[in-house]
Amino acid sequence: VTEQRERWGTRTGFLLAAIGSAVGLGNIWRFPYVAYDNGGGAFLLPYLIALLSAGIPLLVLEYALGHRYRGSAPLTFRRLHRRAELLGWWQVGVCLLIASYYSVVIAWAGAYTFYAVDEAWGDDPDAFFTGDFLGAVDPGQLGGLRWPVLLPLLLVWAVALLVLFRGVRRGIELANRVMIPLLVLSFGALVVRALTLEGAGTGLDAFFTPDWSAMGDSGVWVAAFGQIFFSLSVGFAIMITYASYLPRDADLSGNAFIAGFSNSSFELLAGIGVFAALGFLATTSGDAVEEVATEGVGLAFVVFPAVISEMPGANAVFGVLFFGSLVVAGLSSLISIVEASVAAIDDKFRLGRRRTVVLVGGGTALVSLLYATAGGVNFLDVVDNFVNLFGVAVVGLVEVLVVAWVVRQVRPLEQHARVLSAIPLRRWWAVALTVVTPLLLGWVTVDNLVTELTEPYSTADGTYPVAFVVGFGWGAAALALAIGVVLTLPRWAAGVSLTAPAEEVRT
């Protein structure tokens, strides 16, 4: 009996969804600063090497896994090997934790899209963000729910769940067909405007001037491989799930190269736009670029409002383009993160898509309320750091080790992918997966672990108590694995085939 699985309507639809998943908040607020902080223009060399030697090979691997075994991550790993199911559920645990706080950051950007119209942050964006908007309290305290966060959060979940409710083709594919062109157009317009601002050249100088001595610094290579890994949405169930909806004759390597280079193209565009804007802010404020350059929440909600306020004209348009781009980039990624969990639960328990969306999406939305409280920003900061470093990176490393060295399935997957691939896989792919990626991801993980143990994670002024970091940081990383264990235990619903589907591709 052939299992009926949803399919993408078109190849472009799949590609836009895969690109929409990869292009997220990190492309806009993480990559520019990581590049600047790790050798400027020189960083692009290890970055490209990481893309070709680890990022794209991992993408091809996950496409091949999802396409060959036709399932969400847990079903795919269960079909790969009887004892590998936990790996898939661990990835789902990571997805659920990320979705719960990622949605809140999108809600912040949504609120700021409106604030940008009249520059509601006034003369002090920092005080407005932490005080008026978040009402931030001490780490570990909850405080009450913040209405300015809660209302856009409900909207974010309503849109995401509506898209997922409609299924793969009429929901996810259709949404990305609208969102990705909209994102490229709006962010492209923002970059053009940023490049015409006074001082933009100063920012580009800071971003692109190469510091070749950085090439000898191992930390720069760790940063490059880390950036590629976190940016491509690999290692946490999404690409396996998306690839399971591909048609029989899909071009796996061609899709991976297009998605990988599209993601990097957007990162480069973001670097140009962000640093042109930072150059403008530095010029108008009389500071050096290094004094205004930052990343993450500080860049988006403190520095960019300052840039918008300093603009010589059309401030609101620039602000709406920036925060609107964050919303769209974040939403397309959030949809993919929740879909990876919905598909997994539906595969195992056969509840039906709509019931699963309500259960999984609704449950995650409820958990996200924690981050919509006055103390939410502290929980979010710590959970994000640990779930990324000791959730996504570790489970990604384990995935590569299991596939390449424990169940030794790289060769069969290569044979499966090779016939379907426009770009030949040859020996480089197997070497990249069995040697380069495990070594480099292992190096990234050990480096993160050493850093965390020598300098425990905290804010710049060191205000996180140790118990808070251990409880919510390490606790969150452990919770992802615990969720995985709990979801591995129940039996699969009757009728779910746990054996690998017949090879549909002639090798």
């Binding site: 400027g40 580009l204 100088d205 001037t209 297009i258 426009a422 770009i423």
Partner: protein
């Protein structure tokens, strides 16, 4: 903008956007060949 920064910016754009264009081209040509050969 310094010459070094301009050179790196152009090289980065050529490599990354060129990589994207080449990937799309190879994929499209392969698709056409498959369609033609049935």
């Amino acid at each position: 903008v310094s010459t070094a920064a301009i050179v790196v910016m152009v090289l980065a754009m050529v490599t990354i956007l060129g990589g994207l264009a080449a990937s799309i081209l190879v994929a499209v040509l392969a698709h056409r060949r498959t369609t033609r050969d049935g």
